[in-house]
């Protein structure tokens, strides 16, 4: 985990060809001291990282982001309001590259859409 103690995995299951992982964010994490003072917003790059780390747990391999396109942040994840996130994604291994497509949701709707390609390292 890149950010120590940032989140815990509450559950993870495969359903209908996609992975669904329930994550609980540590709303008191120090990252929110800086992003931003008195206005906690989960950094988009940290949300992106959640998918890589979850795919690494599925694959039991290390990944490095190679490229991504059309990542959309649909709604701000304020940890004081939303500290539970659901990652829904699927991936395929094509010629030693992991192609992942997914969304992150709070209980109020989609926060993020992602398309990413990782290389195995």
């Amino acid at each position: 985990m890149l950010l120590k103690d940032f989140y815990s995995v509450e559950s993870s299951k495969e359903e209908g060809g996609k992975w669904i992982t329930h994550i609980k964010i540590n709303k008191d994490h120090q990252v929110y001291d800086g992003h931003f003072p008195n206005r906690p917003v989960t950094p988009g790059v940290i949300l992106i990282q959640l998918f890589k780390e979850d795919a690494e747990r599925r694959l039991e391999k290390s990944l490095q982001l190679k490229n991504a396109n059309n990542i959309k942040f649909m709604a701000v994840v304020d940890p004081k309001i939303h500290d539970e996130l659901f990652l829904e994604y699927h991936f395929e291994d094509i010629n030693q590259e992991i192609r992942l497509k997914g969304i992150a949701k709070t209980n109020e709707g989609i926060s993020l859409k992602i398309n990413a390609v990782y290389k195995l390292i």
Partner: protein, 151 residues
């Protein structure tokens, strides 16, 4: 006078001044110098601290590189605001990433140089292109993203 002439008399290297120009604060600061500023471009830098929150196993992670590119844009905007007389930077964050490519991850302790170019501004949304190099001029990452500014 060339449009591309830097409007900075000299680079801003003091972290205290940088922190007055960007909304992010420690421990989530991923840029530490403004080297050049024009109306549509900027050149920034960052010496990656070994204890940076986005360093893992001695390497600056992908989120670190992407955030560095986004904060380079933040710094450009902060200086634009400073020139316009704002007393503090507006909060801004990434709205979308049209594309990002990571070629290589830099080691902690190394120095990044990043070139940002403002592609389009509409209301509070800015499209920006960025590319980041290491000390030897090797290209580490490129991106095109939209950032959203709020008050």
């Amino acid at each position: 006078m060339s449009m591309k002439q830097s409007l900075l008399k000299e680079p801003i290297l003091e972290i205290e001044r940088i922190l007055e120009l960007i909304p992010q604060k420690p421990p989530f600061v991923m840029v530490d110098r403004l080297l050049e500023y024009t109306e549509s471009t900027g050149k920034t830098g960052f010496v990656i601290p070994k204890d940076n929150i986005l360093v893992e196993n001695g390497v600056f992670s992908e989120p670190g590189l992407i955030e560095h590119m986004a904060q380079s844009m933040s710094l450009w905007r902060g200086y634009q605001g400073f020139l316009a007389g704002l007393d503090k930077p507006k909060t801004g964050f990434i709205g979308s990433i049209k594309s990002v490519e990571i070629f290589e991850l830099p080691k902690a302790g190394s120095t990044l140089t990043t070139y940002v170019e403002i592609l389009q501004e509409f209301k509070n949304v800015t499209s920006v292109g960025a590319r980041t190099e290491d000390e030897s001029g090797k290209l580490l990452a490129t991106s095109e993203m939209k950032t959203v500014t709020v008050d």
